[in-house]
């Protein structure tokens, strides 16, 4: 941690700013959902910001990510526009997918965001495909694939890890162990401790990462990305983290204790980075205050944009199913 502050203080300040923005987005989404302004259901990323931000700050615009049903944080970290994200959550025509996707499927392929995903375990196989096309195009891009520890039980994830290894593809598998898959603790869903062995089984460099510490995620990802870019194939990072909210908004979270939540919150990724940067003098209180206000203003703007946008015209429901011309 101290070395990071000396080596790349500006990046850390950027990461802090981005984590604050994601938390503000999610916090406002939570209130909007409670106020019945959002259709459907939403799964929030609050508590896990260090993973999305740490990992995505180790890649560039031309790189790809695949995401999960809990994808808002990944999307913002990949550089998607909060206005269009919020509009999508409202089901408005100005949303990323014209109101067709909602929270669970936000995508911007041009920006390398290959979609949040409502199917658990679907991202890793898509990432293998991105790896294949990267190689065909002789690009040196990489694909980060975010998935939950719950998804580790899906066959598709194992097939993806094995195939990526067999073909030496530039994919970084990033398992976010937020301790629960829906209502069930990870320990009841997996017959292994931690998940390091899962990567080792498929013969790839594997690292256990503190997912509450953005520097750790960033450094581990940067190393894995470097390997991938130089043709050394896939890696697995297992980031230990926690979701502060329930599985979905409205989840009464009967399956966990307040003490457990508080223990994780005591290591909050935003607060701890903030303290580190304040102590090091990288930022001062005013800077942090400005970041918070900036985030609030930015997300207020996004909400305003979303509210003022119109709903899509009914006929658009039948458009975009196929390409127009054969």
């Amino acid at each position: 941690m101290p070395e990071a502050v000396e080596e790349y203080p500006e990046l850390l300040a950027e990461q802090l700013k981005e984590m604050i923005l994601i938390r503000e987005f999610e916090t406002q989404v939570s209130s909007l959902f409670e106020a019945n302004e959002l259709p459907g259901f939403v799964h929030l990323y609050i508590g896990q910001e260090a993973v999305g931000v740490g990992a995505c700050s180790a890649i560039d615009d031309e790189d790809y990510i695949t995401s999960t049903h809990r994808g808002h944080g990944h999307a913002i970290a990949k550089g998607l526009d909060p206005d269009r994200m919020m509009a999508e959550l409202f089901g408005k025509e100005t949303g990323y997918c014209g109101g067709k996707s909602g929270s669970m499927h936000i995508a911007d392929v041009d920006k390398g965001m290959l979609g949040a995903n409502g199917i658990v375990g679907a991202g890793p196989t898509l990432a293998v495909g991105a790896g294949l096309s990267i190689r065909q195009r002789q690009s040196d891009a990489v694909c980060l694939s975010f998935f939950g520890e719950g998804a580790m039980a899906e066959g598709s994830v194992h097939e993806a890890m094995n195939l990526a290894g067999v073909l030496d593809l530039p994919v970084v598998f990033i398992c976010e162990n937020n301790q629960y898959g829906e209502m069930t603790p990870a320990a009841n869903q997996h017959h292994v401790d931690g998940f390091a062995t899962r990567g080792e089984t498929y013969g790839m460099p594997t690292e256990m990462v503190d997912g509450m510490v953005v520097q750790d995620v960033y450094e581990a990802t940067a190393e894995a990305v470097e390997r991938a870019r130089s043709g050394d194939g896939p890696s697995l990072l297992v980031c230990e983290t926690y979701r502060y909210h329930g599985h979905y908004e409205g989840d009464p979270t009967r399956y966990r204790t307040d003490e457990e939540l508080e223990q994780w919150q005591a290591r909050d990724p935003i607060e701890s980075l903030e303290t580190t940067l304040l102590d090091a003098g990288t930022v001062d209180e005013d800077n942090v205050e400005a970041m918070r206000e900036g985030a609030t203003d930015r997300i207020d703007e996004a909400v305003e944009f979303a509210r003022e946008s119109t709903f899509p015209a009914e006929e658009t429901a039948f458009e975009g199913v196929y390409t127009e011309e054969l």
């Binding site: 997918c97 499927h105 199917i119 375990g121 039980a153 899906e154 709903f311 899509p312």
Partner: protein, 325 residues
């Protein structure tokens, strides 16, 4: 007769069958401790313990594949797949395993398993990966029985029969109907698989409708009564399909609308329409009209979802558009 919600009726059916037959067990994601994501298995863990109410990892292929294996070897599993969409991950276990064993093994084996799953999320704005109505996919698999819970009464009686059935059954519950109330007998009962129900008698038009659309059809029939007399039929099971009851009604009225939330293309409603035309051709005054989802995934945004998923208005329009000779 006591009033029950469809949710309660399903829970009661599960409870009664677990109690009655010790070879049954429940298996699925969050079915034990959490009581199921829609609360349908709540309390069953306390009654039957973790050997018979089993939480699994997020592993649909293993849930359904293991059920096939268990059914083949003496158990009677009842698997839950949270959304019909996720049946995609387990479809191979049904079409290449469970559905084939009896036939491939020369008729000696049986595979008494039930998969309960949920469809029809459009009204919940759950978008394209959580809203599909996929019963047609399973109707396309020989060896597999397909049952729809459309009324509270059906839900309990059909689920109990599905569990007792010696073939693999995929049992579809509609998300929009879970809170719907209806009267059911106080004593235990079952309903035969393969028997449609005439929910309302009429003379001018037959509407064959499933799940939410059945209730829409009944409302429309009420609204139109006096002007057009509508007979409403609930097919209850799609495989086997009670062609006789459908054809009889079609012969009586001469005009038929079939309504189901699946895709029209190669979907259950189109199949039913085809069978009715074949069975009642000389009695029909018009081609059978099909109401369903156009060639489109289910979108998220409320106005878009409403435009795609048929409702009472679509049924009424289909009825009034039929030529009246």
């Amino acid at each position: 007769m006591p009033e029950r919600s469809m949710r309660d009726a399903i829970t009661e059916a599960l409870d009664e069958e677990l109690e009655r037959d010790s070879s049954t067990y429940l298996i699925g994601e969050d079915v034990a401790d959490a009581g199921g994501s829609f609360g349908l298995t709540r309390g069953l863990l306390d009654s039957y313990g973790p050997e018979r109410v089993i939480d699994t990892p997020i592993s649909e292929a293993a849930i359904v594949g293991s059920s096939a294996g268990a059914a083949l070897t003496g158990s009677r599993p009842i698997a839950e797949i949270m959304y019909a969409d996720f049946m995609g991950l387990a479809a191979d276990q049904v079409m290449n395993q469970a559905g084939l064993f009896k036939y491939m093994f020369g008729g000696d084996a049986s595979v008494p398993m039930t998969i309960r799953t949920v469809n029809g999320g459009a009204g919940f704005n759950a978008a394209a990966q959580h809203s599909k109505s996929l019963h047609g996919l399973f109707m396309h698999m020989a060896g597999v029985r397909v049952v729809l819970a459309s009324t509270v009464y059906d839900a309990k009686g059909l689920l109990k029969s599905a569990i007792r059935c010696d073939d693999p059954v995929v049992f579809f519950e509609h998300m929009g109907l879970y809170n719907r109330k209806g009267e059911i007998p106080a004593e235990s009962y079952t309903l035969p698989l393969g028997e449609a129900a005439v929910e309302r008698e009429g003379d001018d038009v037959t509407v064959v409708a499933t799940q939410q659309l059945l209730h829409d059809a009944l409302n429309v029939a009420e609204t139109l009564s006096g002007d057009i007399s509508v007979e409403v039929i609930n097919p209850r099971t799609l495989a086997p399909l009670d062609r006789e009851t459908l054809a009889e009604s079609a012969k009586k009225t001469g005009r038929v609308v079939v309504a189901d939330e699946s895709l029209i293309r190669n979907g259950p409603a189109s199949y039913i329409a085809g069978r009715i035309e074949e069975d009642a051709f000389y009695h029909l005054e018009a081609p059978v009209s099909v109401v369903g989802v156009d060639d489109t995934p289910i979108p998220f945004s409320p106005p878009l979802a409403d435009a795609v998923v048929p409702d009472a208005e679509a049924i009424e329009n289909a009825i009034t558009a039929l030529p009246r000779l």
